[in-house]
C-alpha cells in the first residue's frame, strides 16, 4: 500500500515537473494560471475543448500538449482529485518561482530561453550551494529600440550584457587606445 502511494506521488511530481518545465516564460505561466483557474472553478464532467476555446480562442499554446498528456482528466473531461492537486501544485510553483527578466530588442528563440534557464539555474544553485531547488520563469520584455545585447534582472541583480558595454569594457580593460593607436 505504501509502495503504491509512493509511486502515485512520484507520478504526480513527475507530471508537475514536466508541465512546469514546458511553461518557461511568464506569458505561458500567465496563460496557465488563467486556464487552471477556469478548470478549478468548474466541477463534474466538462467540455474541455469549449473551456480551452473560451480561454485561448482557436490558437492553442504549445505547452498545452504536455499538460494534456500529464493531466488525464483533460482527456476524459472529468478532473480527478489527483489532477486538481497537480494543477494546484503547478500554480503554487509559479507563484514561488524566481523571475528572470530580460530586456532585449527581438523576440528570443525557444533555444535562447532554454539556455537562459539552464545557465541561471546553475548560477543560482551555485550561489545556494546546490541545496536549493530552483524554479525559474523568464519574462522577456521586447523593446524595438533597445540596443544590441540584453540586460538580465535576477533576484534584484542586474547583468548588463549589451554589446556596447562589452566593447567599452574590452577597450578599457585591454588598454586598446594606448597599445594599438
Amino acid at each position: 500500500m505504501a509502495e503504491l502511494r509512493k509511486t502515485k506521488q512520484k507520478i504526480k511530481e513527475d507530471a508537475e515537473q514536466i508541465v512546469f518545465n514546458s511553461l518557461k516564460t511568464k506569458r505561458n505561466a500567465n496563460q496557465f494560471i488563467l486556464l487552471s483557474g477556469a478548470l478549478l472553478r468548474r466541477s463534474g464532467e466538462m467540455d474541455i475543448a469549449k473551456v480551452l476555446t473560451d480561454v485561448f480562442g482557436e490558437i492553442r499554446p504549445s505547452w498545452m500538449e504536455d499538460l494534456i498528456k500529464n493531466v488525464p482528466g483533460l482527456q476524459t473531461g472529468i478532473l480527478s482529485d489527483s489532477d486538481i492537486n497537480i494543477l494546484k501544485a503547478i500554480r503554487h510553483r509559479i507563484n514561488d518561482a524566481i523571475e528572470v527578466k530580460v530586456d532585449m530588442s527581438f523576440e528570443p528563440s525557444e533555444y535562447f530561453i532554454d539556455s537562459v534557464i539552464n545557465i541561471m539555474k546553475d548560477v543560482l544553485k551555485g550561489a545556494n550551494k546546490g541545496s536549493y531547488n530552483v524554479d525559474l520563469i523568464v519574462d522577456v520584455n521586447v523593446k524595438e529600440d533597445f540596443e544590441p545585447g540584453a540586460i538580465f534582472y535576477v533576484n534584484g541583480h542586474v547583468i548588463d550584457l549589451r554589446v556596447r558595454n562589452k566593447v567599452i569594457n574590452y577597450l578599457y580593460s585591454q588598454d586598446v587606445v594606448n597599445r594599438y593607436l
Binding site: E99, K101, Y153, N155, G156, H157, V158, I159, D160
Partner: protein, 497 residues
C-alpha cells in the same frame, strides 16, 4: 532640466553603480512594495524609472516597502534603483531667510538656493551625554506672562498646547520675533499648513525685518504625506547645522499632533498594527527621537543650544489625549492655552496654573526669581479670592485691593499679537505696578511707550539696565524704583529721564 529628469538620470546612474534593481509589485499610495533590491537598507533613498523618488521604510522576506515622495502615481512593474544613501538635505548659511520644502528645495518654483555648504542626513543620532550642558541661560519670549511666570531656558523643550485658534501660533511667532532680534537663528516648521498661512508668516517676518535670522520649513496639506512626515526632521537637521556652527537656535514645530495624524495614515496604509486611537506602536518613538536632538550642548568647548517649542492641538481643552500626554512626557514642561481664558478676553490665553516649566526657573536671575515668587503667590491668592467672591461674599478692603491688583496684572499680561516686550521693561513695569504707582487704565499705554523708548533712547535704556543690574534682588529693586518712579513716569509720559 526638470527635477523628474534629474531623478530619471539618478535611476540610470544607480543601476549602473549598484548593479541592483527592483520591480514595483504592489502600490497602496504612498506605500509601494518592490520586489528585488537585495542590498536595500532601512531609510535608504530609491529612485523609480519614471522619475519618482522614495524612501525604504520596511524590509521583509518578500518585499521592500517604500514610501513614495511624489503625488504622481507609480506604475506597477516599474523598475527601481537604490542609492545606497539615506535622505540628505542641503544645509548652509544660504538657508537663512528662505522658505524651504522638507526636501531642502525652495518652496518658490525655479528658485535656486545658494550658499549651501554641505548635505546632511535627516536621521542623525542625538548627541551623547558628554556633549550636553546644564540649561542655564534664559530664553526671552517677549511675552510677559511667560517670561515672568513660566520662564524658559535656552535648550529647553517646552510644549505649547491648547485648542485650535486660541493663540498658540501667535505665541510662538512672538517668541521668534524676540529671539530673531537677539540674533538667534529661528526656524519655523509648518507641518501640513495652508500655503497662505506660510505666506502670512513669511510676510510677518518681512514686516519686522527679521528675515535674515529666520528659516521657514513648510509642508502644505496638499503635499505628499511623506513630505509632511519628514518636515520636522528636516527642520531639526537644519537646527543641528547651525548649532554645530556655535549658534543658538529656536525651533518651532507647528504642530506635532498633525504630524502624528499623518504618520498614523502612513502606518495604517502600510498595514502596521494599530494601537490606541489607531496610532501605531512607534508613535512615541518618532517624536522622542526627534525632540531628543534638541537641548543645550557643548561642542568643542563652545556652548550652543537648540530650544524646541513643539505645538500640540487639543480638543475642547482635553490635555489627556494620547499624543498630548506623550509629548508632555518627552518635553521639559508645557504652556497651556485655555479656551475659557480666551473667551474671557485674555491675550495670550495662557493658563498659568496648568502650565509647567521644569528647567526654566534654574536660569533666572535673583530679581526675576523674586518677581516670579511674588507674582505666583499673588495669582494663587487672586484665584482663591475670585472663587470666594463668586458665592456672593462681602467684599472688604483687602479683597477689593486684591481684585484691583488682579485686574492690573491682567492688563500687564495682555498684549497684542505682534507686541513683544523685553525682560527689563517687563521687570520695571511690574515693579511700578507692585508699588501701586501705575494707574490701571494707563498700563497698556505705558507698556508700549516704555518699550519704544527702550528701543530708541540710549539714555533710557541705560537707566533701566543700571537700575536692574545694580539691584541684588527684587526687594532692593523695589526700593530703587520707588526712589526714581516719578522720573520714570514723567519720561514715559513724554518728559525727560
Amino acid at each position: 532640466m526638470s527635477l523628474i529628469d534629474i531623478y530619471k538620470q539618478y535611476f540610470i546612474d544607480f543601476v549602473a553603480k549598484n548593479k541592483e534593481v527592483g520591480f514595483v509589485e504592489e502600490i497602496n499610495h504612498p506605500m509601494v512594495y518592490v520586489k528585488g533590491l537585495p542590498g536595500a537598507s532601512y531609510s535608504e533613498i530609491v529612485y523609480f524609472e519614471s522619475g519618482c523618488v522614495g524612501m525604504v521604510t520596511g524590509l521583509n522576506g518578500r518585499y521592500v516597502e517604500v514610501l513614495s515622495f511624489t503625488n504622481e502615481p507609480v506604475r506597477s512593474g516599474e523598475k527601481v534603483s537604490r542609492s545606497g544613501d539615506s535622505l540628505r538635505i542641503p544645509v548652509g548659511e544660504g538657508l537663512l531667510g528662505q522658505v524651504i520644502t522638507p526636501l531642502g528645495t525652495s518652496m518658490y518654483q525655479n528658485k535656486v538656493i545658494t550658499g549651501i555648504e554641505e548635505y546632511r542626513g535627516i536621521e542623525s543620532k542625538p548627541l551623547s551625554i558628554n556633549h550636553r550642558e546644564r540649561i542655564n541661560i534664559p530664553l526671552e519670549t517677549g511675552v510677559s506672562i511667560v517670561d515672568m511666570l513660566i520662564p524658559l531656558g535656552k535648550g529647553q523643550r517646552e510644549l505649547v498646547i491648547g485648542d485650535g485658534n486660541i493663540g498658540k501660533t501667535t505665541f510662538v511667532l512672538q517668541t521668534i520675533l524676540r529671539q530673531a532680534q537677539l540674533g538667534t537663528v529661528c526656524i519655523y516648521t509648518g507641518i501640513a499648513k495652508k500655503k497662505h498661512s506660510i505666506k502670512k508668516i513669511e510676510q510677518l517676518f518681512d514686516r519686522h525685518g527679521i528675515r535674515e535670522n529666520t528659516i521657514i520649513v513648510g509642508s502644505a496639506s496638499s503635499d505628499p504625506i511623506a513630505d509632511i512626515y519628514l518636515t520636522p526632521y528636516t527642520a531639526m537637521t537644519i537646527a543641528e547645522y547651525f548649532r554645530d556652527k556655535g549658534r543658538d537656535v529656536l525651533l518651532i514645530l507647528d504642530d506635532l499632533s498633525a504630524h502624528a495624524k499623518y504618520y498614523r495614515e502612513i502606518s495604517l496604509i502600510s498595514k502596521k498594527f494599530p494601537g490606541r486611537d489607531s496610532y501605531p506602536g512607534d508613535i512615541f518613538y518618532i517624536h522622542a527621537r526627534l525632540l531628543e536632538r534638541a537641548g543645550n550642548f557643548n561642542i568643542n568647548g563652545e556652548v550652543s543650544s537648540i530650544t524646541c517649542l513643539p505645538v500640540a492641538s487639543s480638543i475642547e481643552g482635553d490635555i489627556t489625549g494620547y499624543i498630548q500626554t506623550n509629548l508632555m512626557s518627552i518635553t521639559d514642561g508645557h504652556i497651556f492655552f485655555d479656551s475659557a481664558d480666551f473667551k474671557a478676553g485674555k491675550r495670550p490665553a495662557i493658563n498659568y496654573f496648568l502650565s509647567v516649566t521644569r528647567v526654566g526657573r534654574q536660569t533666572q536671575t535673583p530679581i526675576r526669581w523674586g518677581v516670579n515668587r511674588e507674582l505666583s503667590a499673588f495669582l494663587a491668592l487672586h484665584n482663591k479670592t475670585e472663587r470666594f467672591i463668586h458665592f456672593g461674599a462681602e467684599v472688604n478692603e483687602g479683597i477689593k485691593s486684591t481684585l484691583d491688583m488682579g485686574r492690573k496684572v491682567d492688563q500687564l499680561f495682555n498684549q497684542g499679537s505682534e507686541d513683544i516686550y523685553c525682560v527689563d521693561i517687563q521687570i520695571v513695569l511690574f515693579t511700578l505696578l507692585w508699588l501701586g504707582v501705575l494707574p490701571e487704565e494707563k498700563i497698556q499705554d505705558y507698556k508700549v511707550k516704555m518699550q519704544k523708548s527702550y528701543d530708541k533712547d540710549e539714555v533710557f535704556r541705560k537707566k533701566v539696565t543700571d537700575l536692574i543690574n545694580s539691584s541684588s534682588d527684587f526687594n532692593v529693586l523695589l526700593g530703587k524704583v520707588s526712589a526714581v518712579h516719578r522720573d520714570l513716569i514723567s519720561f514715559i509720559e513724554g518728559g525727560s529721564a
